[in-house]
Assembly symmetry: C2
Homo-oligomer: 208 residues x 2
């Protein structure tokens, strides 16, 4: 009997409706202004229906987080994996990360700033596999830099990857959270990339 399957499809249909409506509101109005009632009224359902598909609001936000990660990681992976030289690939990942954070502040917040996502993961006793995959990509590329002779062999992959990550994460968040206005006269985005260039040059030289 195909009824159970059709029912399941219908269920998933509503769930997708909720998710895409939520995503639209979230991208347009941000985390604080994304309410259950707004989402429900956008898809012309009652507010209660959302709780048939998600445990609570954080659970819904986590689903948005997953979708954003899927998207970002795919594009970052595809845009950099074709670069043969591991050092240039590493630079490409950094620049791609920066650009993504600049262009998608809402998604970035969901992925790397908001606590609700990690809290919800913790209640489900789930591992942050999206984050692990992303940082795994960085570690692999650093390893490739070592193997290619760009970096010395005694470097700790955890430390190096965190150093690279926190540098670009810091740049993105100081920018999106409007903390760079104290640098008057600087064109902010260009300033960001120049600073990343300086950082990368510093790393390249010192890790030789």
């Amino acid at each position: 009997m195909g009824i159970a399957e059709r029912k399941e499809r219908e269920r998933e249909g509503v769930k997708d409706l909720i998710l895409s409506a939520a995503r639209e509101i979230f991208l347009a109005e941000g985390y604080e202004n994304t309410s259950i009632r707004k989402i429900a009224s956008k898809i012309e359902y009652s507010p209660g229906v959302i709780y048939l598909h998600f445990k609570d609001k954080n659970d819904l936000l986590l689903a948005l987080h997953d979708k954003a990660f899927e998207c970002k990681m795919n594009s970052l992976f595809h845009a950099t994996q074709h670069i043969a030289d591991p050092l240039e690939r590493l630079r490409g990942i950094g620049i791609g990360y920066l650009q993504y954070g600049i262009d998608n502040p809402q998604d970035y917040e969901l992925m790397f700033i908001l606590s609700c996502t990690m809290e919800t993961l913790a209640t489900k006793e789930e591992f942050w596999k999206d984050g692990a995959m992303a940082i795994g990509l960085v570690k692999e590329t650093v390893k490739a830099c070592i193997d290619a002779g760009y970096f010395r062999k005694d470097l700790d992959l955890d430390e190096v990857s965190l150093m690279l990550w926190s540098q670009v994460h810091g740049l993105v968040t100081l920018y999106t959270k409007e903390r760079l206005n104290i640098y008057e006269g600087q064109e902010k985005q260009a300033f960001l990339f120049r600073t990343f260039d300086l950082f990368f040059e510093v790393v390249r030289q010192s890790f030789k």
Copy 2:
């Protein structure tokens, strides 16, 4: 007539009451759980009285931001200014910043993450002087490192200061926002400081 003065004192007294109650709740329960009604009931006033001293909730939060900055900057300044060697002073500032972020996540969020503070500053057409002073301290110290021959002369103070700042800011926020759990087995705080040591060594070598 001293009546106007006494009235003013009483006014300020209530304002301070509000601020310290707000600070207590904010530190204990965080940004999301700090409500006007909670603050009012804590000081046994009606909710409306808060709006006689602050334009709105963000205005009150900005006052907390200012207090936190006053506190942090003083302690960071005092704890590092006695270090004669500029390179060690710079390292001291970095470590102090890290430690502060780790120990005071709520205050740190108010100072460097939340948008509401910057938005409120913008509506008042005010400059973020607290932030400017903090980064000014970093720039001065970098300048001292150049003058002392630790760093080469052609470095751009803006770029270097942003690179240093975003590194420690990134470390603090990835830590407090629970993004480091993907590094399994690492004792998080020690891991943070080790990574900072690596970073600082990299900077020291490359800027020579």
